[in-house]
């Protein structure tokens, strides 16, 4: 059936839409295949990692982190207040002055290599905890998050003693203490994206993980402790927004790196006005995923699914606006619906799970609110026929058709498994619509024609363009946004500039 819907020679597209052929009912049900988690040790209570030691918070407060798939409490985690943050920054400053800036670059490299190796050694444990604490499917944490985190440390470790080659003819020196604030969608991977370049470039760090997903960052702190890094080179302070604000606004922080929402990013940028702090921001997105009629449609469908339902759509660069050339709209939507019959939603620790739990109740409510607005504004909703577990936070993979560009679901970042499908007739219209957003993090283009792809790649105002693929990441490949998706790059040679003063 699939072949009859794609090209029938030349550029003619079979427009006729066949009736449903993939309603397999119970035939898709698999026996549970849970990843064993009995070997994983989560402490009942975690302190703050400051100056190489685990300390109780001066605030005296702890908060609970739960599994979004079961709502069970996993651990209690310290809530750092401004005093705790001050301790952490002081420790980072001392470590910078006494150890890290005095160390030979080649030795600095070896410490960062050690972290990478230990992540590989503890990979399965990290993947399991990541899935428990964040709700993402184990196949993603195991095959994407953790290996990429290890790769990021490995890649950047090698730069430590080669910075003179990175900016030839110019002098580069570290900035000092970096304050880093990371989100809950890729907790360990974002910690790696932040820590690896900062450390390799010779800075010391105070890192604040997201309050709903602190566990893997704390396991990473253990790895750093076991790797015997000089005390205070990496400090990890857990907490919510206030803790983050204390990190960003601390007067002895030389550099602030933030990944998160555009709203908070703007607030940080404003708060830093009048200081000499360096800032990089990796913010929201509303990426266009553009499918031309000449594209390999079956591959495009895989790319669309991966683009929006990967990590429950909790991805800043998610392909959340699907722009389809009008002539293949019906065919593509049909294929998309069929493919969505096969998505398995459920236990994140099950190795067959495609779509896990929504990260938090608050996020689930935001998704529901935006989806409701889409229905109110007259867009047509389709949700995959999945059975949602009773406990935990869940949302079925969903897409909207008949949505206009002015709909909230077409403009605002949903950060959930919700796709908005729109059409275009000419390449110019596709470019116009794709660029018609305040964001500019990523974009996808699906076409069989190389020249068309590169023309679009040039004209799309986005930091990452995926041609006939989507959601690919690599430490050697710079990632970051245009416009209100932020500034600065992470990864690659270009990413080093975020942690260096280059003359």
């Amino acid at each position: 059936m699939a072949t009859s819907l794609t090209k029938t020679g030349g550029t003619d597209i079979e427009r006729k839409v066949e009736p449903a052929g993939l309603d397999f009912g119970r035939a898709w049900e698999y026996a549970p295949a849970p990843e064993a988690s009995d070997h994983v040790k989560i402490d009942p209570k975690y302190g703050l990692f400051i100056g190489g030691r685990w300390v109780s918070p001066r605030s005296g407060k702890y908060f609970q982190t739960i599994s979004p798939s079961t709502e069970q409490v996993l651990a209690e985690v310290a809530e750092a207040n401004a005093q705790d943050v001050d301790d952490a920054v002081t420790a980072a400053r001392d470590a910078y002055d006494k150890y890290w800036s005095k160390l030979k670059a080649a030795d600095r490299a070896k410490y960062v290599f050690r972290i990478s190796r230990a992540i590989q050694e503890k990979a399965r444990e990290l993947a399991i905890v990541e899935s428990m604490d964040g709700g993402k499917p184990i196949k993603e944490s195991r095959d994407v998050d953790v290996p990429l985190a290890a790769a990021h440390f490995f890649y950047h470790a090698g730069w430590a003693d080669k910075l003179a080659y990175a900016f030839q003819g110019r002098k580069a020196r570290p900035l000092g203490v970096a304050g880093q604030i990371i989100p809950w969608n890729f907790p360990l991977l974002m910690a790696a994206w932040k820590l690896a370049p900062a450390l390799a470039c010779g800075n010391t760090v105070v890192l604040k993980p997201a309050e709903t997903t602190p566990l893997t960052a704390l396991l990473l702190a253990k790895i750093i402790e076991e790797a015997e890094l000089p005390p205070g080179v990496v400090n990890i302070v857990t907490g919510a927004g206030e803790t983050g604000a204390a990190v960003a606004s601390h007067p002895d922080v030389n550099k602030v790196a933030f990944t998160g929402s555009t709203d908070v990013g703007k607030r940080i940028q404003r708060a830093l006005a009048g200081t000499t702090k360096r800032l990089t921001l990796e913010l929201g997105g509303k990426a266009a995923n553009i499918v031309f009629a000449d594209a390999p449609l079956d591959q495009a469908v895989e790319g669309i699914i991966n683009g929006i339902y990967f990590n429950q759509g909790h991805v800043c660069c998610a392909g959340s606006r699907l722009l389809v050339e009008e002539s293949v709209h019906d065919v593509l939507v049909r294929k998309l619906r069929d493919r969505m019959q096969t998505l398995r939603l459920g236990d994140p620790l099950d190795k067959n799970t495609d779509v896990g739990a929504i990260n938090s109740k608050a996020q689930l409510e935001r998704i529901r609110e935006l989806v409701a607005s889409g229905e109110e504004e007259g867009a047509e909703r389709f949700s995959a026929p999945v059975k949602l577990p009773e406990k935990g936070f869940w949302f079925p993979p969903t897409f909207f058709t008949n949505a206009s560009q002015s709909c909230r679901i077409a403009r605002e970042e949903i950060f959930g498994p919700v796709l908005t499908v729109m059409t275009f007739r000419t390449p110019d219209e596709a470019i116009e619509k794709a660029n018609n957003t305040m964001y500019g993090l990523s974009a996808g283009v699906w076409t069989d024609k190389g020249s068309k792809l590169f023309m679009l790649a040039t004209k799309l105002k986005a930091g990452v363009i995926w041609g006939n693929t989507f959601n690919k990441f690599d430490p050697s490949s710079p990632f970051g946004g245009y416009k209100e998706s932020g500034f600065g790059r992470e990864g690659g040679r270009q990413g080093l500039a975020a942690y260096l003063e280059v003359e």
């Binding site: 790769a151 003819g169 110019r170 555009t262 990013g265 703007k266 607030r267 940028q269 404003r270 830093l272 006005a273 009048g274 921001l281 913010l283 305040m438 792809l453 790649a457 986005a462 930091g463 990452v464 363009i465 995926w466 041609g467 006939n468 693929t469 690919k472 690599d474 050697s476 490949s477 710079p478 990632f479 970051g480 245009y482 416009k483 209100e484 998706s485 932020g486 500034f487 790059r489 690659g492 040679r493 270009q494 280059v502 003359e503």
Partner: protein
């Protein structure tokens, strides 16, 4: 020259005593020694390739000594005092000029910048004269103009080089072809330093446009005339209209508007006043603007090739775009 003028004035006043002790003395010397009555220039802002007055109708006055006896300018000159709307109009013009400018080949942009250097060289005496009018000694004025022309040549030659210095092919761990290229950001706002009025403007504007951006610059209020004379060089080079726009007025009034404007994606502001720098940084956050503020350098800093120019000047208003494509049959 200033000395001489003062003497003349004193003599003139002595010859024409005030009618009564309460009257103001004659403000100007009036002589009939000149061979002809000169034609003074009305100074106008440079927007979209045209010379325009402020839509507000406002002006401010610049005092200055004559550059030479042949200088047609009077000692007091009216200059348009740009408004918020002038800034907004200029941003629109710059936005519209963007597509054409970034589409040009790097080679072509280099040729145009070199042409600008040629025109500046041929108008060297006029630029020097304008700086002298603003109070610079002849030697200092000449040095500033020379450095400004050389800076234009520097960036002319850089336009087709920075790309290969900043781009990369990235060895990702998978069957993908992956590369990163620098790309222009869009409309950049420049708040030029008060001094050096010419070299400061040239050093800030040229790297921005070399990178394929268009710009709206707020010229030095201490010496707006030289910025306008330089704009005449831009107008007679092959620079497309709207790529470089120069607004005259008060930075304190105009730079917050530039910082607030959502079509402006970056700002390079050289401002002495710390409060104003903070305002620009804070307003810029509204659209996550790439705000670069600086405490202005001294003249030596601008003249020095190591501190006054370089790849970093172009790089700070460039984005990095990364493109992925699968490799396979």
């Amino acid at each position: 020259m200033v000395e001489k003028k003062r003497t003349e004035t004193a003599t003139a006043n002595a010859e024409a005593p005030a009618r009564s002790s309460g009257d103001a003395p004659l403000a100007k010397t009036w002589t009939t020694q000149k061979a002809r009555v000169s034609v003074a220039k009305a100074y106008k802002m440079f927007v979209g390739g045209a010379f325009v007055r402020s839509e507000s109708g406002r002006y401010f006055q610049v005092q200055g000594a004559r550059g030479s006896d042949a200088d047609p300018d009077p000692e007091t000159v009216n200059v348009p005092r740009g408004s918020r709307k002038d800034v907004r109009d200029a941003v629109l013009v710059a936005k519209n000029a963007l597509g054409g400018w970034e589409k040009r080949t790097a080679f072509n942009r280099g040729q145009i910048l070199y042409r600008l250097a040629e025109v500046m060289e041929s108008r060297r005496p006029e630029l020097v004269q304008s700086l002298v009018r603003s109070g610079l000694a002849e030697v200092a004025a000449a040095a500033e103009v020379d450095a400004s022309i050389d800076r234009a040549v520097f960036y002319a030659g850089f336009s087709d080089k920075y790309f290969s210095l900043l781009a990369s092919s990235n060895p990702v761990a998978g069957p993908h072809f992956n590369f990163s290229v620098p790309e222009s950001m869009g409309v950049i706002g420049v708040v030029a330093p008060e001094r050096p009025s010419l070299l400061g403007l040239v050093s800030t504007v040229l790297p921005v446009v070399t990178g394929g951006n268009t710009c709206v610059a707020i010229a030095s209020a201490a010496d707006p005339r030289t910025a306008i004379v330089w704009s005449e060089c831009v107008a007679t080079s092959d620079m497309p209209g709207g790529v470089i726009n120069v607004i005259t007025g008060h930075a304190k009034e105009l730079s917050p508007h530039l910082a607030k404007h959502r079509e402006v994606i970056g700002i390079d502001a050289w401002i002495v006043d710390a409060d104003l720098r903070r305002t620009v940084e804070s307003e810029g956050a509204d659209n996550v603007k790439r705000v670069k503020t600086h405490v202005p350098m001294d003249a030596e800093g601008w003249l020095d090739e190591r501190t006054g120019q370089g790849l970093g000047w172009i790089e700070r208003f460039l984005e990095t775009k990364t493109v992925w494509h699968p490799v396979g049959v």
